[in-house]
Amino acid sequence: MKIVGLESLVFAVDDVAGASRFLVDYGLAPVGVSDRGGRFEAMDGTAVVIARQDDPALPRPPVPGCRLRKTVMGVADEATLGAIVAELRRDREVRRLADGSIESIDDSGFVIGFQLTARKPFVLAGEISNAPGGVVFRPINSLGVPPPGSVIRPRSLSHVVYFVPDVVKAEAFYVNRLGFRCTDRFTGTGPFLQPGGSLDHHTHFLIGAPPQMHGVEHFTFHFGGPSEMISNGYRFVEKGYQAFWGPGRHILGSNWFWYFNSPFGCHIEMDADMDQHDASWQPREATASADNSQAFLLKMRKKWYPGPGIHENGDYA
């Protein structure tokens, strides 16, 4: 099955104006947004969609209080869409919607949709490091650090992380029914999953959790590189948003990360430079801990040189 990845995530919100501002400040582009909600797109057209929580058109949540109402995945062709319909109709309802997409439910109660992918291809070099002896370099006189005021936009919807009450059952659905592969695993916690039409380390990560946590841990978009992503994160903090963890770099997947609180009842991440794997990759297994989750974690030092306002012995705490 050629599922290429996430196409959109649909959230129910209690403050459309606040959530809209949040997503625009994150870097997404508003499309057709009104006081009832709208769409916020990355460069390739993948998106977060928000709607007022009292909108009757919203699918139901997996559990009360969960603001994620639907996870829409893109597929490469009609054959895949047909194969998914045939597979899922063996034991559950699959609805054809007016826009040609299909809608069903996974084994953890999350409403899922599939559509022919509408991702808009684009070519734009990602971050390039100037390394002695290297092959690819940044153009001469171009800058590695994004200048103040430069536009930074998320490139593509990256992944979603679910808290699920039965992680074995949840994984089996995506692997056995939809053709996902486990790329790496946290023992006793859950798998990183890659669909058949993607090389990304993961588009889904499942975390086994107590029933009262059933819902979403986070979702994230890919940015063009760590410098762009971290610059965007600092701008986000300066706008008053609350960081949770980061900036740093994960071990499994190698993606740079920075997590923030959000008005969607879950964290939102900014990520960059995730590993890609094909079917020859052998999944690793690690115990879930902070040590196994972060290769490193960065910390800003505002004062590091002698000068006004700095203790004569420096500021090296």
Binding site: G18, F22, C66, P210, M213, Q242, P263, C266, H267
Partner: protein, 120 residues
């Protein structure tokens, strides 16, 4: 920086004027200059309530999604914007989400001559 004064044996840290926090509003404070708000105050049915900015679900997790934004849109619940836990504003009891049944940590507030202080 917060200013301090003594009232009885407890040191008081000044936060703001009490009337700066309106009904169903919240505000975060960083009285120890930690670089992140360590507590927040909500006014609920006229009364001010002070809480540590730490969700009981994950020890020390900061709760606002934007500076001073600790409440839902209706102003009826304190919300942890990490995983959506909801708390009753005047009791701190979690009524929905991952830490249901647990409570926020209360901080004692004092109003003197219209000025709001937290005891330290």
């Amino acid at each position: 920086m917060a200013t301090t004064r003594e009232a009885g044996s407890a040191a008081l840290l000044r936060l703001c004027r009490a009337d700066e926090i309106g009904e169903a509003q919240s505000r975060g404070f960083d009285p120890d200059d930690e670089g992140q708000d360590s507590l927040f105050v909500v006014r609920w049915q006229g009364q001010l309530h002070g809480w540590r900015n730490a969700c009981p679900h994950i020890d020390g997790a900061p709760m606002a999604w934007r500076r001073d934004a600790y409440l839902n849109a209706e102003g009826t619940r304190i919300v942890c914007h990490a995983h959506g836990a909801e708390f009753v504003p005047d009791t701190g009891l979690c009524v929905q989400g991952p830490c249901r049944g647990e409570r926020l940590s209360r901080l004692e507030l004092v109003v003197i001559d219209g000025e709001l202080f937290v005891t330290s």
